[in-house]
């Protein structure tokens, strides 16, 4: 199978056929994705996980989570920034439960939702992007892909969220509405440079 790449020179020189679907482009090699901090929950479990003293030297943050919990149910998972528990968060989501797709929204929350569910054996996994987190001129927005599959039940979510505050984010606290994060739960914070 050939892949064609067209450019302005193609009019004069003809199109180029490539054997690779990269079509002459280099593979994406992210070189500015850096680990800031990681928390692995120990044997005692944890009611929450907090990243503090987040430097402002990155463009964006990414939080990657694999969480297990003591509460077998679909309670909310959430974040708060800079210890702000005021009614300054809002969320939209699109979700599927294996049979139906639906959408929802909440406003004036005191937490930033990013997922639901916490089970002992099947992890909830999440990748949260917090965009332009250090900018002091705009509210902060996040997006998240998160999900849980339990071989016959579960759900996957696409979230967007807003924190109506212009301060740079310097701390992130992650918690479940009910129950603790179990041992082996893993939370990793990364910074992405511009």
């Amino acid at each position: 199978m050939g892949v064609y790449k067209l450019s302005a020179n193609s009019v004069k020189n003809g199109r180029t056929i490539y054997g690779s679907m990269l079509a002459g482009n280099t593979a994406f090699l992210p070189t500015d994705f850096e680990s800031i901090a990681t928390v692995s929950v120990g044997s005692g479990g944890a009611s929450n996980v907090e990243f503090t003293s987040i430097p402002s030297t990155f463009a964006h943050l990414q939080v990657r989570i694999m969480s297990l919990g003591s509460y077998a149910g679909n309670q909310s998972l959430s974040a708060t920034y800079n210890n702000d528990t005021g009614s300054n968060y809002s969320s939209h989501w699109l979700t599927g439960n294996g049979s139906t797709a639906s959408a929802g929204t909440t406003a004036n929350d005191n937490i930033q939702y990013y997922g639901f569910g916490l089970w002992a054996s099947e992890p909830v996994v999440s990748v949260i992007d917090i965009l332009d987190y250090a900018n002091t001129n705009k509210y902060k927005t996040m997006r998240c892909l998160t999900g849980l599959d339990r071989n016959g039940s579960g759900h996957v979510y696409l979230f967007s969220g807003s924190w109506r505050n212009t301060n740079a984010i310097t701390s992130i606290k992650i918690a479940a509405n009910s129950g603790n994060f179990n041992q082996y739960s893993h939370f990793a914070l990364y910074g992405i440079k511009a």
């Binding site: 199978m1 050939g2 892949v3 490539y18 054997g19 690779s20 679907m21 990269l22 593979a27 994406f28 090699l29 992210p30 070189t31 500015d32 994705f33 850096e34 680990s35 800031i36 901090a37 990681t38 990657r64 989570i65 694999m66 297990l68 699109l94 979700t95 599927g96 439960n97 294996g98 049979s99 139906t100 797709a101 054996s121 099947e122 992890p123 909830v124 996994v125 999440s126 990748v127 892909l145 998160t146 999900g147 849980l148 599959d149 339990r150 071989n151 016959g152 579960g154 759900h155 996957v156 979510y157 696409l158 082996y184 893993h186 990793a188 990364y190 910074g191």
Partner: protein, 163 residues
């Protein structure tokens, strides 16, 4: 701080193949990210197998949209972890899929993955899946439910390390 998002291996198929496998994956990362740009000999759903396990140990839940409607679908007790619903491979159009394999190297928890599949003609999907096995993942195979993967298809595996 060290750079933590590193390419592990890239494969460009020079002939068609029934599957693509990355093996001998080290445990030095926290998560894996597989980036796929591929076509196939026929319309084909895609999936992952870990450590060559072809038992009925996989399941997935998919949120899918095709431009006119959104739906959700589930595959239980499957022999591979499905990635797509509408974002399936086809013969001429290149389909992009990205899969995050979370906490792949621990030996105490089941392994879960998050996927996105994008077919510019048919639709887009978001997927969560699980492999009900606590072994560390040392190999990842990309498989189809039918047909073969086309020559020129590219597969890049990245590792993301923790602090």
């Amino acid at each position: 701080m060290a750079i933590t998002y590193e390419p592990i291996a890239t494969t460009t198929l020079t002939t068609s193949a029934s599957s693509v496998t990355f093996s001998s994956i080290g445990s030095g990362y926290t998560d894996l990210v597989l980036v796929i740009n591929a076509a196939a000999s026929t319309l084909a759903n895609t999936g992952l197998r870990f450590n060559s396990d072809s038992g009925s140990n996989y399941s997935s839940t998919i949120l899918a949209g095709n431009g006119s409607a959104a739906g959700s679908f589930r595959y239980s007790n499957a022999t591979y972890g499905q990635i797509n619903y509408y974002g399936y491979l086809e013969t001429t159009r290149i389909v992009n899929q990205v899969v995050h394999i979370m906490n792949y190297s621990n030996s105490t928890t089941y392994k879960s993955y998050l996927g996105r599949a994008n077919n510019s003609s048919n639709g887009t999907d978001a997927t969560v899946g699980i492999w009900r096995n606590t072994n560390a993942i040392t190999s990842v195979s990309f498989v189809l439910n039918t047909g073969t993967i086309s020559s020129g298809s590219t597969f890049s595996l990245y590792g993301i390390a923790a602090a």
